[in-house]
Structure formats: C-alpha cells, structure tokens
C-alpha cells in the first residue's frame, strides 16, 4: 500500500506571529519557518507503518512556494521515499489544497493519505476532511492510533469527551493528532541521503485545478492585550483578591 503524506511549510511553533503594521497580513519576513508540527507526526506515522511492513512507498507532497522544497527534504530525511511539490507563490486556501491533493491522489493511487489535523498558521483544521469529501473516502480525523486490518483501517480518535474507535473502509484519509506518535529526530546522514531522493515539481495549472481564493482577507489585527496583572505575596492575599477585588469566588 502506497501512502501519500501532505506536509506544509509553516511558521515555526516557537515564533509568536504578529500582524503587519498596515494590517494587510501577518509579518512573515525573516521569520523562522518549519514543517507544520502535525505534519511531522503524519510523516512519522507513515514511516512507522512502512517499518512495520504495512505500507510500501511513501510519497510526501507539499503545496506552496519553491522554499517548500526544504519541507519535502525534511520529510524525505525522516524517511519518505520521494517528494512532489505543487509550486505556486499564490495563496492556496484549504479547499484548493484539497483539490490539488485530490489530483495528486488520482495520479499516485495511494491506499491512504495522512495529513496533520491542522496547520498552526491558519488554524483551519479542514484539509483532510475536505480531501476525504472530494474523494468520497472515509476519514479518520484527530487520530491517536491507526491500525490497518486487511481492507479496513481501525482508527482511535481524540474527541471532546475522551477517545472514540471507528473502523474505516480503505482507501481512507487520516489526520494526525498530537498523541499519534513522537516524530523522530533527523540524523545528518539521512539529510544527505534525502538530497538524492527524487523530487518532482508540478503546478496547479498542470493539475488542472483552479486555486482562486474564496475567502478575502480584509484585515488582520492583534487581539486586545490583557492588562498587566499583579504578583501576590501569599495564598492569603490571593484568596482576599479573588474574593474582594475580582469577586470570582
């Protein structure tokens, strides 16, 4: 079974994003970028399935500017076999990403697609579900455990009240939650090896997909800042403040 893994180049998770001064977008000049952390978990899961003899080739796909090649190289250094970049400098919203991935799925015919459950930049949490809807496939979102069982897939999901187990017909789309696995560190020799792995570049036009945004960003702003608080000396002062000043207990 071939596995397709989608990876996004996103802001590094340690960086605090800020709006541009004119409110037209988020300041990303000279900001550290990295693979979306949830996508790292997705790549790791694909590799573990391959190591367990449950998956064949792993193809990593990324959509974005030329710099997204780095993200694909990281996925290949982790263990993906080859990369496909759908290169564009235009904004690509989740619906368009899902359509591009669908076009790749039709070319590659994988048995499973694994993605991160959400990207930490736009926080949409949409792409995997949209892809499954476009393909008419089953979806195992927010997965914390994935187990292929013949022609079906057992998925354990993190839901509001705890955990849910479902069984999906294959092929299926899986989106990775935090506790699916802990991604491996990439070793230097593997980074060197990844440079030699095949990486194909396509364009949205070659895939016949219209990526025109449906949502117009009118402005961005910083949320209202919390007024600075005070330090209390001890629990007596804390309880007094909560009772008499904040009046919340």
């Amino acid at each position: 079974m071939k596995i397709l893994v989608a990876v996004k180049r996103a802001i590094d998770y340690n960086v605090k994003a800020r709006p541009k001064a004119d409110g037209s977008g988020v300041e990303l000049a000279n900001v550290k970028m990295a693979m979306n952390p949830f996508d790292e978990i997705a790549v790791e899961e694909a590799i573990r399935l391959q190591e367990a003899g449950k998956a064949g080739e792993i193809v990593a796909v990324s959509i974005g500017p030329a710099a997204s090649q780095e993200t694909l190289r990281t996925a290949m250094a982790m263990g993906a076999d080859r990369g496909v970049l759908v290169q564009t400098d235009d904004e690509v919203q989740p619906l368009a990403v899902a359509k591009l991935l669908k076009a790749i799925v039709e070319r590659e015919q994988p048995g499973m697609v694994i993605l991160g459950k959400q990207a930490i930049d736009d926080d949409s949490n949409q792409t995997g579900q949209m892809l499954a809807g476009l393909l008419g496939w089953a979806q195992g979102t927010f997965a914390c455990n994935v187990a292929p069982e013949g022609d079906s897939l057992a998925v354990k999901r993190e839901v509001d009240g705890g955990l849910q187990s479902i069984k999906l017909k294959m092929p299926a789309v899986v989106t990775a939650d935090l506790r699916l696995n802990e991604p491996r560190y990439v070793k230097l020799p593997n980074i060197m090896k990844a440079k030699k792995k095949p990486l194909d570049t396509l364009t949205p036009a070659e895939l016949g997909v219209d990526i025109t945004p449906r949502l117009k960003l009118l402005k961005v702003a910083e949320p209202p800042a919390r007024a600075g608080g005070v330090k209390v000396a001890d629990v007596q002062e804390l309880v007094a403040k909560l009772r008499n000043e904040a009046k919340v207990i």
Binding site: K117, L217, V220, A246
Partner: protein, 311 residues
C-alpha cells in the same frame, strides 16, 4: 436567506455548545433553523425547538446518524443545504470533523472557529494560535462555518417555538462504522462549559500528584484542565487539554498551576475573565497574562490555598 445550525448532541441531550452556535446564527439577518441528525433523538428535537428564535427543527432519525459519523452526516446536510445561506456548527470534535467535508462537497470554503459576525458574509476568526485576528469575507453562495463557543454567549435554551419536521434520511454511506468510545467519567463540571477551571502542567510531575489539582478544583466547584505537556506525559486523559489544538475555554476564573504558558496553551485560555498563575519560575510567560501571580512551589502553595479556601 435562513441559516442552518447543526445540533451537537448525544441522542438524549442537546449539547450546550449548540446554543453558542445558534447565538452566532442569530446575529445573521435571515433567522435560523436547527438540524438534529441522530438515532432515537426525539428528546433532542424537543429541546432544540425550545431554543430562543429557532424557526424549524429538522429531524433525521436513523441508525446511521447515531454517532455523527461525517461520512453519513455530510450527504444529509448537502441534501438540504440548497435552501440555506449559512451552515453553522459549534467547533466541537464532531463539528470540526463534519463541516469541512460538507463544505468541500458543496464546493465552498469553510470559515473555521469564528469569534465574531461583522455582516452576513464577513466574520472574525483567530489565526496563528490566537495571536492574530483575521477579518475574512466569503465570496461563496453558502457560508460553511464552525463557531468557537467562547466567542458567543449562549442563546436562551427556552422560549422558542420551533416547528419539528422530519426530513428524508440518506442510506448509510458504508464507509465507516462506530466501534466503541472511552469517555472520561467525572462528576466535575464539563471543561468547555465550566465557570471555574483549575489546570495543571508539567510542574505537577505525575498522575498521582494531579490529586492536589483535583482537590483544589473540588473546593472551587471547578473543572480540571491540563497543558499539553501534562497530557503527553500521561498525567491526565487527552480530553483535559486546553490550548490551540485542544479545547478553547473562557471561564470566569482560570487557575494555572505548574504551567509555564507556552503560546499554544495561552491560545486556549487567555480569554478567561480572571487568570491566576502559580509557578515557581517567576519568569514564566504565564505571569504575563495572569491577573494574579503567585511565585512559589505548587506543592506548598496549592495545599495552603486549599486550606485558606476551606476557612
């Protein structure tokens, strides 16, 4: 045109998050209906019909809707979506699972996690872990929306006079089956709806030590939450996680114990009315958002706080 709110429920009780989603729908110009898809869910339909301002309550009652599987829910919503200008659901696990599938099948974009309604086509939503608020306009004929519950005060659960109407169900898509669920049992308030929350982080150190967090929570009548670090370490179950990718909460009082305050955690709790932080590291970022900060050893301060509260 009318908006459609997809109800969140467990076939017996309407989940309170639906009232927040309905509150967002009520801010639109065309009124709203509610869809209750479930199995033996008549009681939920009755509760939905009492939501203030509701028009119709559409009921799809069949076994394939018992567990809100997206593969079955999405075609049902798509079959009736043509009559609506907006589709809304709360940003619950079920809502986040189903709505993008619905949107893609309708070839429309989704607006995730809105916290404000500017007009019928323009909404405010947090991005980048809530560090940026984006005002976004949709150009699609149908707006598919998930609603962050903390962004809208719940609409009244009573006083409505909705008319209940059964709608045609669709066959089971045959793509997915529910197997089982392990739900965390607790006598404490639900995290998403709690008035007071006490959360523990890595500093708590172990699952056993979480008992001191629980004791404080019980004294305050609070729900128990946790940072990602505490969940990853196995101190508490996953559904306790507060943060960018866990639950977003905005209680009256949030007590963060042994939590350093990573961006991702702050994203899930910084809209709380009053924040208390107890941490031994006075440089911890949590103190930058805390109204009241107590620098000290949580193993000494929390028991002392319990004692002071009991007085």
């Amino acid at each position: 045109m009318t908006a459609l709110v997809i109800a969140e429920h467990n076939n017996q009780t309407l989940n309170a998050a639906t009232l927040n989603a309905a509150a967002a729908a009520a801010r639109l110009s065309g009124g709203f209906d509610v869809l209750v898809a479930g199995h033996n869910c008549g009681a939920v339909a009755t509760q939905a019909a009492a939501i203030a301002g509701v028009g119709k309550v559409l009921v799809a009652d069949a076994a394939q809707y018992a567990h809100a599987l997206a593969e079955n829910l999405a075609p049902l919503v798509v079959s009736i979506a043509g009559g609506y200008s907006h589709l809304l659901t709360a940003s619950t696990a079920n809502g986040k699972n189903a709505m993008p599938r619905i949107a893609a099948m309708l070839d429309v974009a989704q607006l995730s996690d809105i916290i404000g309604v500017v007009s019928d086509d323009t909404f405010v939503r947090p991005i980048y872990a809530g560090n940026v608020l984006a005002t976004v306009q949709s150009t699609d004929r149908i707006k598919a929306i998930t609603v962050r519950t903390t962004g809208f005060d719940a609409i009244a659960a009573t006083g409505g006079t909705g008319t209940i109407e059964n709608i045609a169900v669709q066959a089971d898509a045959g793509l997915s089956t529910f197997v089982s669920e392990e739900l965390t049992k607790s006598s404490r308030p639900e995290l998403a709806a709690a008035d007071i929350i006490v959360s523990g982080g890595r500093g708590v150190g172990s699952a056993e030590n979480f008992a001191i967090i629980e004791k404080l929570a019980d004294l305050l009548g609070a729900a128990v939450g946790a940072s990602r670090a505490a969940v990853d370490a196995g101190y508490v179950p996953n559904d306790y996680q507060v943060g960018q990718t866990g639950k977003c909460v905005a209680p009256t009082l949030y007590v963060a114990v042994g939590i350093s305050g990573a961006i991702q955690h702050l994203a899930g709790m910084k809209d709380s009315k009053v924040i208390v932080a107890i941490n031994k590291d006075e440089e911890a970022p949590i103190f930058q958002v805390a109204d009241y900060g107590l620098v000290g050893d949580l193993f000494k301060e929390v028991p002392a706080l319990c004692e002071a509260l009991a007085k």
